[in-house]
Symmetry: C2
């Protein structure tokens, strides 16, 4: 049992493939006798026996360093409780078929749950397996780790985009748009919206209101604040998390759609806020919704983020080879300035299904801004640029050639 | 009468300031005795006698090459008919106060109208003036010129963004989102949406439907097509112009808001299309709205676009010094491959208030894609990267120090 299974899970990021590169290159170095198999579309590929045999790929693995999205496909799929023996017996039969001794699952807190179940099922079935989760989420809501690969690049995208859009609004506010709203992701944690504060200067040129799920939305205070922004600066720029909640803790914009984990599918916050403003003021407004653009913008990825994504992949390889299971490499901050970090490890029991939100001491008293402490935490994560190659004016994102195993 | 007035007008772009740089640097070289005055917020600054004296700015003009938005402020302001003598007498008194002999107006087709009126009013009032328009619009809808500065960078943003987002959708379509909609700008012309075709490969990996105002929207054909995309590729990626029109020629998404030119303020097409899809299919969908992000994304500007923006600025200077008036430098395409272009000139009478839409021979038979002829036209315009400097992880967009004249 010495072969390797890897899969990508949950919402993908612009750097998840860099973690795959870190893992694979470390394994090729430290465990050259192991074959690497990769699930097509996450754990679903293992369940349905659709598994890529990486030894058959001939294109360079370095392509993983440049391409956003999930090179091998990802999924939203919740494993049943480990009491469901038949399911897990079938799943472990598939692992055995490929002589898998090392299982790596690259995802967020739902995926940590999957990896923990696999680890526990292996013990129950007496199957020798190292099950290691590799952290990934643009939401930065994974517990225990200081930050999560994928977040830094989304944060850099948001800070850059809002700085640019604010210069547009500032140019025209006297005779045209006075309010601009950017809706970003973040279902329960406001990290991505918080990163907009990184665009700001000491004159508040770029961002005036940040709305995050950690702060119950007070429409009157918000509208009063927008009015003051327009009076003071000539315009108001607002960055809002999709998961903004009202004072009863309900999503401010909720739809009836739910995903396979039972999470509500959100969307439409920006136009809802724009309507709210229209009802009170005559201000012309514009709104943007970043949606998938923010989590796939490899063209403006953070170099720090890419290096951390590679490092957690490498560390996961070494943890598995050391016989660890049910654990995850985590990023530990050693110092802020200069920014220094190291990789340690933590048990999935502390991570699975948990959410790390923006701490209250990062949030300004009025609830609409990020304080110095938050900026100091966020700033190092977006540092450094890592440009992809371009061909014919668009980024050169080329896939690996992938071949399903015939086992 | 040898001094210079320059102003920026209409929706700003990520490269309009590069045209200002081209103009100013050429003037400093060819007419070193002229003082340069710049309208604060476009023509409004001239009317209200709020005019920056560029000789008082001490920071380097090269900052103009990096910063998106309008460095001097822009406006949406329609000049009255030139029969309104009192208005024009006041306006020309302000020009005379600064001994302005050269008037430059940097904008789109509404701004060409403004510049033409100024040119004609000058003749009527026997005021010696060269009034030259400098082309600028992300919409690429200016007549006569082969393309417009500002468009290439918006096009590069859209092609890059949709390529990235499509990789995200492709990664997860088996168990999650199957339809992704990106709404882009383009009120009457579909050029920006058309640029999404530049992301595509010969397997249609990245873009499946492009919806533009030139093609009346046929909802049934669209929905049938989306269904076929999902069957064939597993997902469907749609890029839609905000100005999409129905079969009666009405905006598919119209609001009651109008700007100062009487244009409807649009928005909300992406969620409307998403709802249309939800009513027919169970496909999970996501949507994004680029809004101002697409026209301010200097971080991913086209180097070709920047060079052309500078060149029209330089050419405008020379046209004015040659005594031309009521005209505009235009970009002429000499060849596609290798792409070669030159700057010529055209009368504003052929440009003002006109719109150049996507020609029918660029559009596929079904109306949902851009043909090879269109791709050949579009491709050179997004070529080349020109990265801004970064500080602390965000682009370094620093303003000039601007000082109002005390005249």
């Amino acid at each position: 049992m010495k072969n390797v299974f890897y899969a990508q899970s949950g919402g993908v990021t612009s750097v998840i493939n860099s973690s795959a590169f870190g893992l694979f290159s470390e394994l090729k170095d430290k465990a050259p006798g192991s074959d690497i198999y990769v699930g097509r579309n996450g754990i679903v590929g293992l369940i349905e026996n659709e598994v890529y045999d990486l030894s058959k790929s001939t294109r360079p693995l370095e392509l993983l360093l440049e391409s956003p999205g999930g090179m091998f496909g990802s999924c939203r799929y919740k494993l049943p409780d480990i009491e469901e023996e038949e399911f897990y017996q079938d799943l472990f039969e598939n692992l055995e078929k490929y002589s898998i001794g090392h299982f790596f699952y690259n995802g967020g807190n739902d995926s940590a749950d999957t990896c923990l179940k696999i680890s526990e099922a292996a013990k129950k079935l007496n199957y020798p397996l190292s099950a290691i989760a590799i952290p990934k989420t643009i939401d930065n809501d994974l517990a225990v780790t200081d930050n999560s690969p994928g977040f830094g690049s989304a944060a850099k995208y948001v800070a850059t985009s809002v700085k640019e859009a604010s210069l547009d609004v500032k140019s025209m506010c006297d005779t045209s748009t006075k309010v601009f709203i950017l809706e970003v992701m973040g279902r329960h944690a406001g990290w991505i919206a918080a990163a907009a504060e990184l665009a700001n200067d000491d004159k508040n040129t770029y961002v005036h209101k940040i709305l995050i799920p950690e702060v119950p939305f007070d429409a009157d205070a918000f509208l009063d604040g927008v009015k003051r922004d327009v009076e003071e600066y000539g315009y108001s720029v607002i960055v809002a998390s999709e998961g903004l909640k009202d004072e009863d803790g309900e999503f401010y914009t909720a739809s009836n759609k739910k995903d396979s984990f039972g999470h509500s599918q959100l969307g439409g916050l920006a136009p809802k806020l724009a309507n709210l403003i229209s009802e009170r003021f005559e201000f012309k407004h514009h709104w943007a919704v970043s949606d998938y653009l923010q989590r796939s913008a490899r063209h403006i990825a953070s170099e720090t983020d890419i290096q951390q994504a590679i490092s957690v992949g490498r560390a996961a390889a070494n943890m598995a080879l050391d016989g660890k299971t049910g654990s995850m490499p985590i990023i530990c901050r050693e110092s802020n300035d200069p920014y220094e970090w190291s990789i340690k490890e933590a048990g999935l029991i502390h991570i699975a299904n948990k959410e790390k939100t923006v701490p209250l001491d990062f949030i300004s008293e009025d609830g609409f801004r990020i304080r110095k402490e938050g900026v100091e935490y966020l700033k190092p994560l977006i540092m450094g640029e890592s440009y992809p190659r371009y061909r014919d004016g668009v980024p050169y994102y080329e896939p690996l050639d992938l071949h399903l195993s015939e086992n």
